[in-house]
Amino acid sequence: MASKNVSDYLATDDLTILLGLIAATVFLLQTFNKPQPLVHPILLGRQSDVARVRNPSESAVYRNYGTGLISRFPLRPGKDVHILADFVRSDQDLPRTLWGTKISNSALQDRVAAAGTGLIRLAGLQPGESNVLLFLNDCIEFLISDLALASHSIPSFTLTASNLLSQVLESHPPSTIITNGELLPSLLELIYDGGHNTQKYTIVVVGEPSARAMASVASKIKVLRWEDVEREGNKVEKILSPIPKPQDVFTVSFYDNGNGLQGAQFSHANLTAGVAAINSMFPAAQALSRLDTIVSGHSLSTAYGRAIAYSAIYEGTSFATLASSKLFHVDEATVKHDIADLLSIKKFPIPSPTILFIKPGHLEQLVDAILREAKKSFILNTFAWRHKLAGISEGFVTKDSLWDRLVYDGARARVIGEGAGTVRAVVVGEGPLPATVLTPARVALSCPIINTYTHPLVPAPVLASHPLDLQAFPTSNEKEPAASGPPSVNVEAKVVGVSDEVIEAGGDPEGLLLIRGPPVGRQGGVEESYVDVRKLEDDGWVATGARARIQTNGAFKLLL
């Protein structure tokens, strides 16, 4: 061809105009169609409010940024909630389902009053003198007895593991034990084995005990049936006790932290603060309400599980617990945190679950299963996965996107069954969550996933990540746990045992985690004779026994 000169290179024609318009449109689409992050990243860079002063070899004190260092901690979820009985609101009377029972607040209050009266009369309980051991798996009778005993100022004992029963019976023998029918034989066996103990027990049985168990009851043990207790309470005039004060200890939770039996004493104030903390884990626009259904994998015998249950009662949601929250089994049973466990909720007539409080094992299995199902629609999944990830890397995720409708809704429904679409938040606690699971979980579930750190001494999460946080950081190894987030709204935390040189050079403080705040219970059994009472440091800091590293954005990362 003849040689071209510059004007030939720059020749334009109609096609150029057309292509130019298309190019401009495509460019604008690409630039401005980026989704807005759910929470501005600038807020995720400052998740804690940090004190300006620190003691030598300690870090500064960290509080949740929303609370701030100056303000007071939130102590209660509502201004009239001071004691346990206030969780059952009299102004809300619509029925909701707790496990298998559809009940309204006023009916619940009646049952609590009847149970309290019945227990005092039939079991001979003395307010302020007797103790009652709740050797129960999670059921509505657990909550009713807890509320009833608390309203009469009778401390209740709970165990966080079944192997602690013999130690507790020896060191803190209760006068009464409330138990399930199927656990009665093993309980009786344990009592007879501890023969030197001449304590007279009264056992209240929920459910049907077998005839054989009833026949083996010794003379010094009195066995009552729960239905009889409630009936007795309904027949007679209700016994009224003085209203307990918020600082009164109403329950002792026994746990083993590796150093032997420990007792955690909780007062009404601890629980109200705990429920306030649980409520504030969710963003204001998605707060707990009567329309929710909470499913919990944490047993009511633990402080955290109890606070979740009371949260559900306070907000008027329906509530049920997973099969794995059953702590006490008739025989040796391995507890598996898997999908079958999650599906065990279907046996309760509750509405479709909306909020899940589960353990890391549950989440990992669930996410694996959903993503495997999604991969079955091979071609669509490649696009869906990439688009979801692109959104998450910009800080945005939603359940209503095109890709959810095409791929993920179907995958979720095949794994969880109908009602998979209602899950709107997942809270993971009681174990480390591997950081590599976070992003796949966000893609698979497309709802806020809150990673928490819990401790047997605190009826609330100690650390809770921001619900709309979708950040993902490179990890050095597979097992590294995800960051647990800043301290919860009414807990302050610091790490001790840090190297001053490292901090002055700008490094991350790393050491033993200490916490303080309204929900933190007191260490010590009721008599403080057998239990190893750790000396509280002055100012009330409690050692959690965990090591943590504090990141520059104020989030804590637990170290394994």
């Binding site: 096609l15 292509l19 169609n33 990243p41 620190r54 990439r386 890397s393 954005n553």
Partner: protein
């Protein structure tokens, strides 16, 4: 019009459109960037460069407190009733040329109580700390008011003990 891309401009535009459409329909598949951005503008998953600055809580004696008077040292500290405050932010008042510059690096308890900024209010460095025993209740309340003011406005960064206590 026949579809020909003879002109380079058309080719360039066409390639650009193809590339952009590919980016829209098939975005990149990694949520984790290779190196963590240190500014929120550089990326969503970012981590701030540094921790918020903190001051170490130290124990001072009158002699070790004195250098922190704004002249020898940038930081300005003063003590009231055994608590040491970092008043560097109030350099206008407590700095060398400030109205209350006498208090910098010294125990200002008596001066705060008696509402006076004279040099007589200060105890010499080698003498024991002022016991404040001859103050009236009014003056003690006044001093407590000042402690309240200082705690809210400045940082409590240490405590003051006798010269030979360390």
């Amino acid at each position: 019009m026949s579809f020909s891309l003879d002109t380079p401009i058309n080719t360039a535009l066409f390639l650009f459109i193809l590339y952009s459409v590919q980016r829209i329909v098939f975005p990149s598949a990694s949520a984790t960037p290779k190196s963590t951005p240190r500014e929120f503008k550089s990326g969503y998953s970012w981590m701030p460069k540094a921790h918020p600055p903190t001051v170490l809580f130290k124990t001072y004696t009158p002699k070790t407190l004195e250098p922190f008077n704004g002249k020898d040292n940038e930081r300005i500290l003063l003590a009231i009733n055994g608590q040491v405050f970092d008043v560097t932010a109030g350099r206008n008042f407590y700095g060398p040329n400030g109205m209350y510059g006498n208090f910098a690096g010294r125990d200002a308890s008596r001066g705060m109580a008696k509402q006076s900024f004279d040099l007589e209010m200060l105890t010499p460095l080698d003498q024991p700390l002022d016991k404040l025993q001859d103050l009236t209740q009014d003056e003690i309340d006044n001093m407590k008011g000042w402690i309240e003011h200082f705690t809210n406005k400045y940082i409590v960064c240490g405590r003051l003990v006798e010269n030979n206590a360390l």
